[in-house]
């Protein structure tokens, strides 16, 4: 038996049997001035079509390994590439991308690098970075671009 709280019991096990959903978040340094991006702006950034922030700072996109399961949604919804294509793309745009091994490393890189923007699992979020809204929505809101199974 696993100790349980009220909600689990009364919703007849509902909470304890929900499918795991992935929620990603786009994060930037706390000092970043951009708090909101549109989907199309984000797609342009991730496809290295937009290279600079409005204040002229170069953009660096910080990602986990494109072939990792964590990045599946990013490949599908932002890059529209296979993992192999994404790797090749990143290799040819080395100045625009940084590939790291964990969400903690994404946060460390983003919080200490001017102009960096990263993707993390929402549940890895710390106070060292800010969540950027996409189309005015936070990751916890219905319709957020990087939300789903």
């Amino acid at each position: 038996m696993r100790a349980r709280q009220l909600l689990t019991i009364i919703l007849v096990g509902l909470l304890s049997c929900l499918a795991e959903g992935r929620q990603l978040a786009i994060v930037a340094a706390n000092s970043a001035t951009t708090a909101n991006l549109s989907s199309s702006e984000l797609v342009k950034i991730f496809n290295a079509k937009t290279h600079q922030w409005p204040d002229g700072k170069p953009i660096i996109v910080v990602l986990r390994d494109p072939s990792s399961s964590e990045m599946e949604m990013v490949l599908h919804r932002l890059l529209n590439m296979t993992p192999e294509e994404a790797r090749a793309f990143v290799d040819t745009h080395r100045n625009a991308f940084a590939i790291v091994n964990s969400d903690d490393e994404v946060i460390r890189f983003v919080s200490s690098t001017r102009g960096a923007i990263g993707v993390i699992d929402l549940f890895s979020l710390t106070k060292d970075v800010n969540v950027i809204k996409i189309d005015g929505k936070l990751p916890v809101e219905q319709g957020y671009l990087l939300r789903g199974n």
């Binding site: 009220l6 909600l7 007849v12 509902l14 049997c17 959903g21 979020l125 106070k127 219905q142």
Partner: protein
């Protein structure tokens, strides 16, 4: 159970007696002290209260003796009513909805005179209760960063992540905690592996859990439950019986046997086992309601809706008198689900709404979740009745709730309803997108398999049907959908399309 509580309480008091006269005034720990000790401080005026709380939480985590743990926590809080973390722990552990609400409020009110980490714990829990998910996650990670090897921080984090259905992250924290030999954490991680259907790892942890506490009943009980989740019913019953042989008072194993017989299709035997449990044990209120509800489901599994109505109504009446608004509402919701007559189902949903409006002894989060569940049933019912206006109206309300919320239960209620609406409108690809977000509800799985078939994605349909046939949680949705489907699915002469209707 009562006798055992007294014994445990006496033992804890005896252990801490020398400190009882000291009433040391522990000041909040400074950040320097915190990083040196790397253990979550517990600020209290009373050493004795602290010892009792620690004893209570060890009992809760390692042995899942929830009732005893609750009694100890209450005793500690009598000694120091301003013990903020004591209130917080009781809010987590309590099985009384009113107590959960009041204890969280007391923890929050007393957070001003505790250490920074304790305050962070309390505010994280408050954020969780208020659905401020981003703030809650940030605070949890701050605590994990400060105390990655503290048993209570690891326990609370992994437990909360499990509630948020973040099973893999909960496992990751456990695996990196340096506390993988802690029996309670091992137990919880076993369930997390089971929820992601990695039963080999879940059962390996259960072997380890049993070996760590060979004289305790809970490891056997957990082993049984995970075997049951894997559909290995006979072995599950063996382990439940092993738990009862170790501790004849371990009532959850008795009810586990009953639940398992019910899932196996033997409702007469299941009711007999429930009856033994109700006669033999004095149960905490919410546990009794839980298993009375499961007993009521045995009639649904038999197709005896009259018998089911009678049994469910008894639960609803009890919840009305005592009063527990959300429990009452959820009971009527479940009754509505199996009604053959949609008009009768609508009447029951109206009763559920009326009960919920009472708002007695329920957390706001629980009321909102129930409201979403009720709207979902309204949508599905309206679609069945061809009443598009009602379906759209309920769908709109549910969509608004989901947009404003970051609650898993509300979101999955929305996704299930939206999937059903899209399916009804022959928008199969859209239906699939929604239904994929509600994969652990047999009602959604059933529609999802049909939607895949409609778009000729036979491989995905087959995978979904396999998942549906294996679904072994004792929920009402399972009772309505799975047994008849499974029977047909295993019979090669049976037409699956008919079983899915």
């Amino acid at each position: 159970m009562i006798r055992k509580t007294i014994v445990c309480l006496s033992a804890a008091l005896a252990l801490t007696m020398p400190a009882a006269t000291q009433q040391d005034s522990t000041s909040p720990a400074s950040s320097q002290q915190i990083s040196a000790s790397a253990a979550l401080p517990l600020t209290t005026k009373s050493q004795q209260a602290r010892h009792i709380v620690e004893e209570a939480m060890n009992l809760y985590l390692d042995k899942v003796e929830q009732a005893n743990s609750i009694e100890l926590l209450r005793a500690a809080l009598k000694i120091d009513p301003e013990f903020a973390m004591g209130h917080e722990f009781l809010a987590w552990v309590s099985l009384d909805p009113a107590e959960q609400v009041s204890e969280q409020a007391k923890a929050f009110a007393n957070r001003t005179h505790v250490s920074d980490p304790e305050r962070t714990v309390i505010e994280w829990c408050q954020d969780g209760a208020d659905h401020n998910l981003i703030s809650a996650i940030t605070k949890m990670n701050e605590l994990l960063h400060q105390f990655p090897h503290d048993k209570w921080v690891v326990w609370m984090s992994t437990w909360w992540l499990t509630q948020e259905t973040q099973y893999e992250r909960a496992i990751d924290i456990y695996e990196h905690s340096g506390l993988t030999d802690n029996p309670g954490l091992m137990n919880n991680a076993g369930y997390d592996y089971a929820y992601i259907r990695q039963f080999d790892k879940a059962l390996a942890l259960m072997d380890k859990y049993v070996a760590a506490l060979p004289d305790d009943a809970n490891p056997q009980d957990s082993y049984a439950e995970i075997l049951r989740m894997a559909g290995r019913y006979d072995r599950a019953i063996e382990h439940y019986r092993a738990a009862l042989a170790i501790d004849p008072e371990f009532y959850s194993s008795q009810f586990g046997i009953a639940d398992t017989y019910s899932l196996m299709g033997d409702q007469v035997r299941a009711r007999h086992e429930y009856m033994i449990g109700f006669q033999k044990f004095s149960l905490p209120e919410l546990h009794r309601i839980l298993w009375q509800t499961r007993e009521a489901m045995t009639y649904v599994r038999e197709g005896d809706y009259e018998g089911a109505d009678k049994a469910f109504q008894a639960v609803a009446d009890y919840a009305d008198v005592h009063p527990m608004s959300q429990v009452e509402a959820d009971t009527y919701r479940q009754m509505a689900l199996y009604q053959p007559d949609p008009k009768q189902a609508l009447k029951l949903l109206d009763k559920a709404d009326a009960a919920l409006a009472g708002g007695s002894n329920a957390q706001l989060a629980a009321i909102q979740q129930e409201k979403a569940q009720l709207l979902r049933v309204r949508v599905e019912l309206a679609l069945k009745m061809g009443d598009t206006g009602v379906a759209i109206s309920a769908m709109t309300k549910l969509s608004e709730m989901s947009q404003k919320s970051d609650d898993k239960v509300i979101d999955t209620a929305y996704e299930g309803a939206a999937g059903a609406a899209a399916f009804s409108d022959h928008q199969y690809k859209i239906a699939i997108q929604h239904l994929q977000e509600d994969m652990d509800n047999p009602l959604s799985l059933k529609l999802l398999a049909q939607a895949y078939e409609k778009i000729k994605d036979h491989a995905s349909a087959k995978r979904t049907l396999d998942l549906l046939a294996d679904f072994s949680s004792p929920t009402l949705e399972q009772a309505i959908v799975v047994p008849s489907f499974r029977k047909c699915y295993q019979d090669r002469t049976c037409d699956i399309k008919v079983a899915l209707k």
